[in-house]
Symmetry: C2
Amino acid sequence: MISDSAAQPTGFGPRSSPPLLVSFLAGDAGQWRIEKIASVKGQGLSLAPRLKVIEGPDTLGAHSLWNLRGVTSNTRYTYRRETDAMQARQEGLNRPQSTRAALIPIRKTEAWWALAQDERRSLLEEESHHISIGLDYLPAVARRLLHSRELGEQFDFLTWFEYAPENSDAFETLVRRLRETKEWDFVDREIDIRLMRA
Amino acid sequence: MISDSAAQPTGFGPRSSPPLLVSFLAGDAGQWRIEKIASVKGQGLSLAPRLKVIEGPDTLGAHSLWNLRGVTSNTRYTYRRETDAMQARQEGLNRPQSTRAALIPIRKTEAWWALAQDERRSLLEEESHHISIGLDYLPAVARRLLHSRELGEQFDFLTWFEYAPENSDAFETLVRRLRETKEWDFVDREIDIRLMRA
């Protein structure tokens, strides 16, 4: 049978983004020095000296101590007024002063995923104020949300944050406030990985 | 560096579903005979004699004329009252009388994906009645929605329908009603593949 190249799946080939595939490989090389890996809940991840962040090509099967993959996607809960507020205040990744970063992989419970869309939205924002808490730390803390659940990965999300050293305390407050919410009752695995630009 | 097997990404290994990876491979073999492939909008797909449906293992790179992959996932728009109404009425795939099937891959415009969650929900249901139209054809038409966008595939969704021959007219009405909606203004590629159990 002749292969129909025009109709072949593209995998993560050229396509206007999102989705952009982003991989985090722990090992001996990478732009980020790993300062700490703490298990907040559930099974941890092994410590390595460096973290390599790769955008674009699929790294499944690449040589590394561990490899976490996720894709950017459309918003799932954010309403227009919230999107507008975020876009008015947020700044991008890779700011020169953002020499600190955190990678926080998160998995939610099956109970969370079995909820209907209105129930998840209500828990996330009306009860837990997840979006508005995040707004309080813009533009100091720049962030990127990656979805991993659809890739069959071990986490549901990979959350990535970048900030300047003088905003370290603000970042700790952001993380603490989120962990105190009702939404976090539905988190069953969470790892906190802290990084410094190498 | 020693590989940390416990922390390796699972790909689509054992995990409580969803996500379940489902692949549709066109070629000379498979449970379904392909009756027709029509391009409703945008680039088509080549005709083949058979369609093989594979649940579970990843088929990326498998030998086939074309190969479309998607994953089951949580609901993205459905509210609790709608979920309950669906669950009360729907029946599963693989009913013996369901000898007809349709695979309709769909891609939506970048404008759709740039909308906020409340705007997409409003277009999908309050303006287009997508969920309630689907309810009108339960349990006659059984269905499965697969998400492909996050896998870097050429379509955003793979929609799969199964029904008995006597419900063929009802299915045509369902498809026509959906294509007349405001939501469908945001569809920029759609293929209609009709199948008969081999």
